[in-house]
Symmetry: C5
Subunit: 300 residues, 5 copies
């Protein structure tokens, strides 16, 4: 669907929006605005990574926004985010995307309808800003998830789905960090020396803030994974302690009963009337000695 969201008459520039366009619609717009074949191809590829490319008479940008309704186990850039392609000149701006996104509507309402936007650069700035803001909500959600898992790991008995869950948390954080990294070029070019103003500087600030939040989340995830494995390996300690205690108690006793199970013809103890209770007493004595040795070592 092709929509003209604003036109030269009202704001001095055109904003053409293609939402889930057919091939014919794309071809029509490409022809009208003389868009290169290469950028048309990129723009139709749903899994394209962020990109900033200069052509002779326009700039081509691909950005990705957070996909709001993703399943619990989304773990790739394609599942976690959706693509918006932008064609930008001083004269007009074309946006191409698959589904209805809030980003487009929100910029339309807040910037165009209020007449706050007076150039395509400001519109571009507003669109990228709104796109980066889509990562703020997942950042908060992931932060709360991490806090919850941290409490689980430190204070409860962590059971194994935690590792699986942390994997998906880590993937989401890594994917967004990677996207941010690849999008730096776009923000850096919008806020470049020639055209820098208060709005573009705000965009850069927002970019750095978002990046810092996700760097922080990544650091915390790494720490939590490391503590998770450490606590699980600390539990091996407890298991070894039980194994060692049982072995140390039973090995001497089993040896002694083995002695009196030998079939030598001449073993005087076997003939004693109190041989059996004496052997039992000996074993009780050994157990008590081991018990106190363990007690002193602090293993019991």
């Amino acid at each position: 669907m092709i929509q003209l969201l604003t036109s030269k008459d009202s704001t001095g520039f055109d904003w053409v929006d293609l939402s889930a366009p057919t091939d014919d619609e794309i071809r029509q717009v490409a022809k009208q605005y003389k868009l290169h074949e290469a950028s048309i191809k990129d723009c139709m590829q749903p899994d394209h990574l962020p990109k900033y490319e200069l052509f002779d008479h326009y700039t081509f940008i691909i950005f990705r926004v957070f996909a709001p309704n993703l399943g619990d186990e989304a773990d790739t850039i394609q599942e976690l985010t959706n693509k918006i392609a932008l064609f930008f000149t001083g004269d007009h701006l074309i946006t191409v995307h698959r589904a209805e996104y809030n980003v487009i509507n929100s910029v339309k309402t807040k910037r165009i309808d209020t007449g706050a936007c007076d150039s395509t650069l400001h519109l571009l700035n507003a669109l990228i800003r709104e796109s980066i803001l889509t990562f703020e909500q997942p950042g908060l959600k992931l932060s709360e998830l991490l806090d919850y898992y941290e409490e689980q790991v430190f204070l409860k008995q962590p059971n194994s789905p935690i590792l699986r869950n942390l994997y998906f948390v880590k993937r989401q954080i890594d994917v967004i960090r990677r996207l941010m990294l690849l999008s730096y070029e776009i923000v850096d070019n919008i806020d470049s020396i020639g055209q820098r103003d208060a709005y573009t500087r705000d965009l850069r600030d927002l970019y750095i803030r978002t990046q810092t939040i996700f760097d922080n989340l990544s650091e915390n995830t790494g720490q939590l994974l490391s503590v998770y494995f450490s606590i699980s390996s600390k539990r091996t300690n407890e298991i070894m302690r039980v194994l060692t205690i049982f072995s140390v108690f039973f090995m001497p006793l089993t040896f002694i009963v083995g002695i009196y199970g030998m079939n030598f013809r001449f073993m005087p103890e076997l003939e004693w009337h109190y041989g059996y209770p004496a052997a039992m007493l000996l074993m009780v004595g050994i157990s008590v000695a081991i018990y106190f040795w363990f007690k002193r070592k602090g293993w019991l």
Copy 2:
């Protein structure tokens, strides 16, 4: 309770303070100063994160200060800190908060009553400064706690409540670091290029200092956790040593007594008159050999 802490007549601007306000009081102030519905909503939400938002005719800021009387096991932003909301113009400043905070009183006494404050920007600067300073005391306390636990871990036998205690130390540090990160926008906007002066630069210095202190605490906590787990796993070594020593001593002996417990009809040793003492001597010999082998290995 609505209080006018200073007025245009004395300092050239109004400072309206709402302490634990009723809904009616908030509505009344909102109407008088034309505050947006959205910021009123944010301002009544006790667990709102730090925020800096520009409106047409005022700036809306949410900041959080350290809660002095928290329990021992506070571990969330909401339990550890309290919210202050600020509405700021060149003409007046409105503060909204739940309880009586030292921050407000202290700025009133030190800045307003002494006449040291000559603009709302300076008042705002002083309020944020005082708010950041509330984190200095917990920083010192956490630092001492960490030193204490470090000594425990390195020089004493760490017992398990240490992990639980370190969890709460780590949480407090992480919560304050996160708050600092989210508050950067506020400090950066107060100390922005247009309005930078010695006071706002001081605020930025204080912010960086506080952030560095908590980064350092976070680093030390991570190191201490890592050493704690390493020492606990080093103890497994000692346990394994005991298990191995017992097993290596008793396995050959138990095997030998097993041999002479076999019921073969023709076993010459069983008929020997000194078969039993000979077997016992053999076992003593084996034990002595193992003892010296261990001695040489340094395991005993």
Copy 3:
């Protein structure tokens, strides 16, 4: 083969390209352009590291580009990359390389044939830019490989070829990072204070972007290796649990059967009519007690 890719007449400077040159061809060009013996030697060494060297009347640069058809187990700078040597003056530029590289053809087509290049500095800039871009594709491929191995390690049973595969991933990333590090001098000298323009600044941006991507890959590889070893050591936990459970069950039972295997003449239990079932019942009782103890500990 010596080719004159552009000449003074058309662009104001000469570009001499030597592709897989014979010794004679190199000598001939060296004589014509008065190239030093030392740089000729470096230029004929196929495994030379990146270098930037000033001579009296020219600058000598060695750069390395990613080798497209490398085998699966390439793990050195020589196997992973190919060398391009450059002799640069304001008047002419000489490129020397072994095989046909896309870098040369691509710059020829995009910059020379379109007339976009008006100085040897711009040509040099374009060549280095194109060379750095050869690392973009392997960066994406390595990133996808890491994502694949991360999923394997976290969600599947990692088997041992993963360590071998991660070694080759790590080597490729380390080699490219090392090359980037050694090439910084070249980029920094092209984008130096005297001659900085929009093109050279773009080259520096590209350099930093590539470096950041590989730093990020290196960090992720380190994390993945660490998680891989942690998960493998967590499995030891499970193995120890099984060993401990079996030992704790069987050690007391084996001791008891040992007792009634002793040959004392006076052991009343042995004469009891229900001695055998009583002993068996005792052992069942002990097993049940241990079972519930394990149950409570959560080990079963």
Copy 4:
């Protein structure tokens, strides 16, 4: 003891030094120079942390210098360092300290007596510089200690006092790093934009150099602790190997002697004339097979 180390007549400013002052002496100076009660209180607290505070008519600074004669197990800021308090105006400088410190004498000799010092700012600069220099010597000593322990850990059998010793090394480094961090404010204010000159810039350089040296020591200590624990855990490997070898040898043998210890009435092997040597041969065969299996696995 109150001393006038220089006076307005000779250098244009007064330097009043209070060494281990009585309460009366402090009161007297406080009254003469109109010092605030709050700063007097701070200045008499021997364990006060570094501080930079502006008062109406003077600046109050607390700095800490390394204590030369500390015991081997000093591990707090109070044991490791001594306090110097400074009151600073353009007109006079007051120093307050407990004991005789080299810092005061050295600055007196090198700066005042040579007439090199022409303002209180330069005197202050020289005092702080001299104070930071007191940490250079312990830095070198700690560096050598770490090198010694590193050699011990890598090449010798580390025994347990190493952990205790590393704790004290780590504490000293951490305490000095923390002090440096808290002193940054002082250095940053001395070398501030208004009054920056070659001397204050040198002070900042020295501060950064000292900080970098201790950051480096801290990093090396962390690495050494980590290697120490890793080597100790690698030894568990060897212990497990011995346990496993003994168990694998003796478990089948003990089982076989158990078989022929059973009391079944009909067990043909027991009646054989060569049953006993046949069983022994079987066990030798099993041992040899296990021996070669271990040999191939590289465990022997």
Copy 5:
């Protein structure tokens, strides 16, 4: 031996070189150029660390260069490097060193003999530059060693001399990093604001490049050590698996043969004609069950 490498007549300044000087030669030069006793003492101490010191009429510098013929197990600053002392004024430069170093000869040939050097500052710059370059070769050698050990650790069975070898690699890297850190002052003072030019800026670039290379080597060594220990601990896993498999197989069997080794008078199974083969069959059954349980667990 005292040599005048250049004189005022030819280059406008004197360069006096003392190679392995006797005490008398040093005294003579010290007297002629009025060198302080303190710097003479430092200059005769072969193990002095890098230093930059201002005196009234000259600057005193100690630098260290890599010692080319060091043994395999050199691991201290003294064994790995040699000292050069420099006395520097605008008028003359004095170099003092023990042995013949390439650094001196190389600068003499490349800078003095070609007339390229027109001031003592440029000569100093060239000497320090040449000194830093002595660390480039060991950097490459260490990098190749690390690559070799990395391949050993990841793809081969690492045996224990690797830890010893890595220790010496780590020591060399740490020593050079430490030297670099301590030499920063020298480079920073040569390239200081007043006298900065293209040559001094090149020196700083070289310094940073060398530092970055050794930081990178240090990071890689740390990573390799960590992987080395992880792989060695992963092997414990395999050992535990074998121990557990043997124990789980033999413990139930040994228990069963123990049962039929009991001497109860009334044990019906013992009287059965097929009691013995039945017991053996039971044990085969149990072994098969365990075998399939292990198979399903993936432990066999």
